[in-house]
């Protein structure tokens, strides 16, 4: 049997780094983490989306908590803010944008009753002082108090009430009363009635670590000082201050100034690690079809009632991009947006010692490319996972176990089951039919019917090639093996005189084209050209077409299949996610081998789209849908009136390929194939058959174990059941069978299992 070298050791300490720049450029395409447009427009970075969600849920307490994160005085900000967020609301494009500021006002009013009084906090040790009054000074004092600095305000006003009145003269009386209560509740020490001149300033200065002032006081104390607006500091005087404009401007200025205070308190350059400040742009994608209520709730004179605020906030469509998550079962399974998952998979490839916890997700992607089509930015998860697999293989860190069965199957297709012959009677042929490994495994009669039809109707001769295109190794990230498969096929094609390849499978077509086969057509194209075979039954029934992921981006093939289906009388029912948006059936990328659970979810997602029977043009899709109990046909079965029947198990898939090869050799090429007959009778219990399929144990494996037993006589007799147990190491696994024996030549297999670890007797 064929064998693949297992990696030698877990103790491999090398990495072959994927360039971080390349990965970052791939990750950056995911806009999931981009802020919504309203938040991006807010220089204070209010989480508008979350606040509106809380308000829509009637949770004004939580909404106010979110608002207070950016507003030490919520009523002042909500009454005076210029609200650039509203202009950026995406609902403006389809109707009225949200009345965000009105909702903020309602949040500030109705959330107030739930507000907790100040709890005990540990103060920072750096003392701060704010000289002067006005909105900027008030808000800065509020910001510093929020950051737990001890704050002292020196002002000329007689008391905090007058101070607040001067800062926010626009507040109505009820709002003023609330904000005054809030101000008095804050841990801000007021020193009122001061004369704020240079002498006073110098006198107070030594008692504080950081000094701040209103712009007015700054100009009075240091007429020549030059504030740096982005830092709100006069560097020569080390005085935190600067001019601001408007309510939002004052709030933003206070925020920048408070950050500068932080840096000064830490004895750092105020320019140090400030992060991104102020309003930004957003590249977030929003599906505006989710907008249901387009008209704004009218604002009464006194502002929204609670109910009105809830209704208006409920219009928010919570801008977010989940286009790929909506359509991809793989991303849904891991509940992660692809930017995050890609970053984690990238990190997985960089681990030198320790667990590669992302191996499973990395190997579960079907590499189908659907995300790239549905993503507004063309995010390519397939490339991320495929690159990561190649990287793990090249550093000898890729486990063989998830892909070994499929890789051995490829070697089988291009070994024992491989066949390449010119059409009988032709020395060289114009065409070669390449049905693909799964077609021969699942529907051998259909392959045979198609081949005989092509031979009969195409001039110039049609050769046959039964084998694997190499996609299996390619998907596994084992590029050397894939290249060997391609070179093998190249040699065999050359031996046939390099005929035009007629592919029976879109994934083979794609794989072969990408690896240098120049002249290639799909059998669907050929059938369209020469017409359906004679005597084909017209179906006149509705079916759902599942586009193969191998044909993604191949509009010509998709259209050709539709015309072919129409000429067969099939009424195709439209499903969302068809054409280029079609999901993978779960076979692609070897997902079905590496992660049967996720692959099963992929299949179910495909079948959720329609209740109709499914028609597909990839045999793997046909097989996976049938396995889930859905009536499922490959388009060639309809063209040739064949029925591949119930899905074969893994051993039957191999046997089908061998039998197809043998019967064709015998009947078309009149060659007597070598056939191996067992010198004994082998039976199975139903339980054993089901178990073997689930555990990926082939009939061939069981026969090899039994042959070993017959040669050596080595087995264990189980006292209680009277059954025998034999084992044999085959390649990288040890296979065990539990069986009964009647006489010397009749065996019935009851159970089978395997493990990859090797077990040996230990001396001592």
């Amino acid at each position: 049997m064929s064998q693949i070298q297992e990696r030698g050791s877990t103790h491999v300490y090398k990495v072959n780094k994927i360039s971080r720049e390349e990965m970052e450029s791939m990750v950056a395409r995911c806009v999931y983490e981009q802020p919504p447009f309203c938040s991006a427009a807010c220089p204070l970075k209010l989480d508008v989306r979350a606040m509106l969600k809380a308000a829509a849920d009637g949770n004004f307490k939580k909404a106010l908590q979110l608002y207070e994160k950016i507003a030490p005085f919520p009523l002042i900000l909500s009454q005076g803010c210029e609200a650039p967020c509203e202009g950026k609301c995406r609902l403006n494009e389809v109707g009225d944008g949200l009345a965000i500021r009105e909702i903020e006002r309602a949040v500030a009013r109705y959330g107030e009753q739930f507000r907790l009084g100040s709890v005990f906090r540990t103060s920072k040790r750096h003392k701060t002082a704010v000289f002067g009054s006005g909105l900027f000074a008030l808000l800065l004092a509020g910001e510093l108090e929020k950051k737990a600095y001890p704050v002292t305000v020196f002002c000329e006003e007689a008391d905090p009430e007058a101070y607040l009145r001067k800062a926010a003269p626009f507040l109505d009386e009820s709002a003023f009363a609330l904000e005054l209560r809030r101000l008095k509740g804050k841990e801000i020490r007021f020193v009122c009635g001061c004369r704020l001149n240079a002498a006073f300033y110098e006198q107070q200065k030594p008692a504080f670590d950081v000094l701040c002032a209103s712009d007015e006081v700054r100009a009075r104390l240091f007429p020549d000082s030059v504030p740096v607006p982005e830092l709100m500091i006069c560097e020569a005087e080390r005085l935190v201050s600067g001019p601001t404009e408007g309510v939002l401007g004052a709030a933003f200025g206070a925020k920048k100034a408070a950050l500068t205070v932080d840096r000064l308190a830490q004895k750092l350059d105020p320019r140090n690690t400030r992060g991104q400040e102020g309003a930004t742009d957003s590249a977030l994608y929003t599906d505006l079809s989710e907008a249901k209520v387009l008209c704004r709730v009218a604002v009464p004179a006194g502002g929204y009632t609670k109910e009105q605020a809830i209704e208006e906030a409920g219009r928010c469509i919570q801008c977010h991009c989940e286009e790929c998550l909506k359509s991809c079962a793989y991303l849904k399974h891991y509940k992660k947006h692809p930017g995050l998952l890609a970053r984690e998979i990238y990190n997985n490839t960089q681990i030198i010692m320790g667990d590669h916890q992302l191996n499973k997700p990395m190997n579960a992607c079907s590499l189908c490319g659907q995300c790239t089509v549905v993503c507004p930015n063309g995010f390519d998860m397939a490339r991320v996972c495929h690159l990561a697999r190649q990287n793990m293989v090249s550093t000898d860190k890729m486990p063989l176990a998830p892909h070994e069965f499929a890789l051995l199957d490829m070697l089988f297709s291009n070994g024992d089951a491989f066949l390449a012959r010119p059409q009988p009677g032709f020395a060289s042929c114009r065409y070669v039919f390449f049905p693909g490994c799964q077609a021969a495994a699942i529907a051998p009669e259909t392959v045979r019917a198609a081949y005989e039809d092509l031979c009969a109707r195409l001039p110039g001769g049609v050769a046959l090639m039964l084998g694997c295109c190499g996609a299996i190794a390619d998907w596994a990230g084992r590029m050397e093996m894939a290249q060997q498969a391609h070179e093998f096929l190249d040699r065999e094609l050359a031996r046939l005189g390099d005929p035009i390849v007629i592919a029976g499978c879109p994934s083979c077509a794609k794989e072969l084209r990408e690896h240098g086969v120049k002249e290639l057509r799909g059998i669907w194209d050929v059938l369209e050209e020469i017409g359906l075979p004679e005597g084909v039954h017209k179906l006149e029934r509705p079916m759902a077409l599942h586009d193969s992921c191998g044909a993604r981006g191949d509009a010509a093939t998709q259209a050709s299949i539709r015309r072919l289906a129409a000429s067969l009388g099939v009424r195709l029912t439209d499903t969302p996610y068809s054409g280029d948006r079609s999901p993978c059936c779960g076979y692609g990328g070897l997902a079905a081998y590496a992660n049967p659970e996720v692959a099963g979810e992929m299949t179910e997602q495909c079948l959720e789209r329609s209740d109709a029977p499914y028609i597909s043009y990839c045999m793997a899709c046909r097989d996976r849908f049938a396995r889930k109990g859905r009536e499922s046909k490959h388009i060639l079965e309809l063209c040739y009136g064949t029925d591949a029947g119930a899905p074969p198990d893994i051993s039957e898939k191999r046997r089908n390929r061998l039998q197809l090869k043998r019967s064709l050799l015998q009947e078309l090429w009149l060659e007597e194939p070598m056939e191996r007959k067992l010198p004994y009778t082998l039976n199975w219990t139903d339980e054993a058959r089901e178990m073997m399929d689930r555990r990926m144990i082939l009939t061939e494996d069981v026969i090899a174990v039994l042959n070993g037993f017959r040669e050596t006589g080595e087995a264990i007799l189980e006292g209680e059941s009277g059954l025998l147990v034999a084992r044999r190491r085959l390649g990288n696994a040890t296979f065990w069978i539990k069986f009964s024996r009647e006489g010397e030549n009749i065996y019935t297999v009851h159970r089978a299992w395997s493990h990859r670890m090797n077990v040996v007797k230990r001396e001592g």
Partner: protein, 73 residues
């Protein structure tokens, strides 16, 4: 000298016989090897020919989970 650590122990309790040697299997020393890692265990072993028996439950349980853990190293 301290006893060598065993990761897993199964006693055949006289229920298993080696077909070839015709003797009952005994609890004996064995070792699982995988990807350059070794794990000493005690499994049913034929005292004559050294056949080591790995029961189905062990293969699909503990052995499979250790395999998976090592594969991701």
């Amino acid at each position: 000298m301290a006893a060598e650590k065993n990761y897993y122990t199964i006693d055949p309790e006289g229920k298993l016989t080696c077909l070839k040697c015709g003797v009952p299997l005994v609890k004996g020393k064995a070792k699982f090897m995988y990807l350059d890692n070794g794990f000493p265990v005690e499994l049913p072993v034929c005292p004559v020919c050294g056949f080591v028996y790995v029961p189905e439950e062990l293969a699909l349980g503990k052995v499979a989970s250790v395999e998976r853990a090592l594969e991701d190293k």
